[in-house]
């Protein structure tokens, strides 16, 4: 009944607002700011380039985004342009037809940038090593910071590799986005 509710609202008294303990609130706020700065500094964007793959690694790169592995919970996500990316993730051998595009993708990234080679092909050419049109692994074309081996590596291994890379470079990478003025 609408009229009953209306009368109760007119006649009733407002309940006292719930207020947190000021000391606790202050502490939580400080922790959030400190933790938040660290976490935001870890929120890195990944650009993927397949430079001569069999598409097996791409399947597992898609799998690390599914409901079970959920890559974004680690602050990592894929972006559509190297200009938006902190990490260049390379799969496949570096073949002759893709070498230039791979170099250009790396050049287009803002510094500092990291390069991750995923899969045995990106490690050293994998089974395709020795083919005249294969230059080698990713490091034949761009400097590589981390390799996740496997054919293809399973999703847990790819995520472990990416998180380890972010941990190792935490101090070297300036936090992103920059801490706003007023935050300490």
């Amino acid at each position: 009944m609408v009229w009953k509710t209306t009368i109760r609202h007119i006649l009733g008294r407002a309940a006292p607002a719930l207020r947190p303990d000021p000391a606790l609130a202050k502490e939580m706020s400080a922790r959030l700011q400190a933790g938040g700065a660290r976490k935001l500094g870890r929120a890195l964007s990944i650009r993927h380039v397949a430079a001569g793959s069999c598409n097996g690694c791409e399947l597992e790169l898609r799998a690390i985004q599914n409901l079970i592995y959920d890559l974004t919970q680690y602050g990592l996500s894929f972006v559509a342009s190297p200009r938006h990316a902190d990490i260049l993730l390379v799969t496949g051998v570096s073949n002759r037809n893709m070498a230039q595009a791979l170099r250009q993708a790396r050049t287009a990234m803002p510094e500092p940038a990291l390069v991750v080679a995923v899969g045995d092909c990106a490690l050293d050419g994998g089974v395709f090593k020795g083919s005249p049109v294969v230059l080698g692994g990713a490091k034949a074309v761009v400097p590589v910071d981390l390799v996740v081996a496997g054919c293809p590596p399973n999703p847990a291994e790819i995520i472990a590799g990416l998180v380890a890379l972010v941990d190792a470079h935490d101090t070297k990478m300036p936090p992103k986005p920059k801490i706003l003025p007023g935050m300490t």
Binding site: A50, G52, A63, N66, F78, N95, R96, M98, F128
Partner: protein, 456 residues
């Protein structure tokens, strides 16, 4: 069946063209359902074939072996884009469309998602795509050259890595060819295990691709659920066969390993989960007008065009083509299971989704029946070092995969691989022109050609 033709007969030959390739002395052409003809090379060339699907193969033969198709000299390269050994080279120029107000949009070879590389050049007028030119070859790794001189057992590792999403089907087609060349029949247990793996691969790919298409049309929920179903199948494959994609499990002579302990239960549990959720996901697909609006009438491949290219897989079956290599030419063990092959006529994205959704329950049934009737016995026979020719086929989730090889004292003297995608890329070029540019990701995903499978 193989026979030599004169140059005139070679050009006049009718039939459903599958593939063309050359070796040192001959040009070969393969027709459904496994008819192989060849013609002697003359001065490093052979008469061009007029079949619609032959274009890519003739360009590839010129790039790989230097053999010219006479009457087809003007075609652009397939995989050799003139890059220097370090990969540097000129950026491609494409002729402009003559229509007034038309402009070009260049996409690739690096794409915006987690996709293989390829270059697409669109001529558009406003939003309408007037022409699409696909420039492929960016996944080229020289696989055929690497396989020559190796034993089938060794070369199976390359066959498993021609197209990772169809690794079981490629391994299977390669094994069929190697076994025919060596005169070997794999043991019955291996045949059933192969079919289980092939059907798991098919339904895993169908599930994730259908989800990805829904995701492209703004239904992230469907993408998430279908990706989860794929993940369950991959985990079951890991438990049963020790590899999420079942790579290197099918080998010439049989299978590399038996079903692991607990594998049967893992597979059945995954199939149960897929079966339980599929009807509700399918209903979402059919009930939402905004989703149907994106897929119905989009990316048309008319049945006549699909027939001219002898399209297979869901691309052909969504455009009225009945072909399925499991039935024609057919291979064990499918003759015992009364296979149901869905066929649609509309030829649009919706029809391709419908075919794939209908193939999922059929694959579930086949896996269950194969598990229920799994015979005991040997897993693999070691092939003797043989000399001979072999032709093998397997139906991958996207269509027939063909392998041709010649063994010389147990080593591969020559080989050719034809993935179904090769015949589907030109259909994508056509389908794109029936819609606007913004629909292209959806259309591309609905045809889902393998870049790696065609580029070799």
């Amino acid at each position: 069946m193989i026979r030599e033709l004169s140059a005139t007969e070679w050009q006049a030959k009718q039939g459903r063209f599958v593939a063309l390739w050359t070796d040192a002395n001959f040009a070969y052409a393969l027709y459904h359902p496994g008819e192989l003809v060849f013609v002697a090379l003359e001065q490093g060339g052979y008469p061009a074939l007029a079949h619609k699907g032959a274009g890519w193969f003739m360009r590839l033969a010129r790039d790989l072996n230097g053999h010219v198709a006479r009457g087809f000299e003007a075609a652009p390269p397939a995989i050799d884009h003139g890059a220097a050994p370090d990969g540097s080279g000129p950026w491609p120029e494409f002729a402009r469309h003559p229509a007034e107000g038309a402009h070009q949009v260049a996409v690739g070879p690096v794409h915006a998602g987690i996709i293989e590389p390829g270059h697409f050049r669109f001529d558009v007028k406003g939003e309408q795509v007037l022409r699409l030119t696909a420039r492929l070859g960016y996944e080229h790794k020289g696989i055929l050259g690497l396989m020559r001189g190796k034993s089938p057992a060794h070369a199976a590792r390359f066959a498993a890595r021609v197209s990772g999403d169809a690794t079981v089907a490629h391994s299977l087609a390669f094994a069929h060819a190697a076994e025919q060349a060596a005169g070997l029949t794999p043991p019955p247990r291996a045949v059933n295990l192969r079919a289980i793996m092939a059907e798991l691969e098919r339904l895993a790919n169908h599930a994730s691709d259908v989800g990805a298409m829904a995701g492209d049309a703004g239904f992230a929920f469907l993408d998430a659920r279908f990706a989860l179903l794929r993940e369950l199948v991959c985990q079951a494959a890991q438990a049963a066969f020790g590899h999420r994609l079942m790579m290197d499990r099918v080998v010439p002579g049989g299978v590399a390993d038996d079903l692991a302990e607990g594998g049967r239960e893992a597979i059945l549990a995954a199939l149960g989960a897929v079966e339980a959720e599929l009807p509700s996901l399918r209903r979402v697909f059919e009930d939402y007008a905004s989703l149907q609006d994106r897929v119905v009438g989009t990316g048309l491949v008319p049945p006549a065009l699909a027939e001219a290219y002898a399209a297979g897989g869901y691309v052909g079956r969504a455009s009225g083509q009945r072909g399925d290599a499991r039935l024609s030419p057919g291979y064990a063990p499918y003759e015992t299971f009364a296979l149901y092959v869905p066929v649609e006529q509309a030829g649009d994205v919706a029809a391709r989704i419908k075919v794939r959704l209908e193939e999922i329950p059929e694959s579930i049934r086949l896996v269950r029946e194969c598990l229920a009737s799994l015979p005991g016995g040997a897993l693999c026979l070691a092939p003797d070092p043989a000399t001979g020719m072999g032709l093998g086929v397997a139906e991958s989730f996207r269509g027939a995969v063909w392998y041709w090889l010649r063994l010389d004292a147990g080593l591969i003297a020559d080989i050719f691989i034809a993935d179904a995608s090769t015949l589907h890329w030109p259909l994508l070029e056509h389908a794109a022109t029936t819609s606007i540019l913004a629909d292209f990701p959806l259309i591309n995903k609905s045809i889902n050609g393998s870049y790696a499978g065609g580029d070799l």
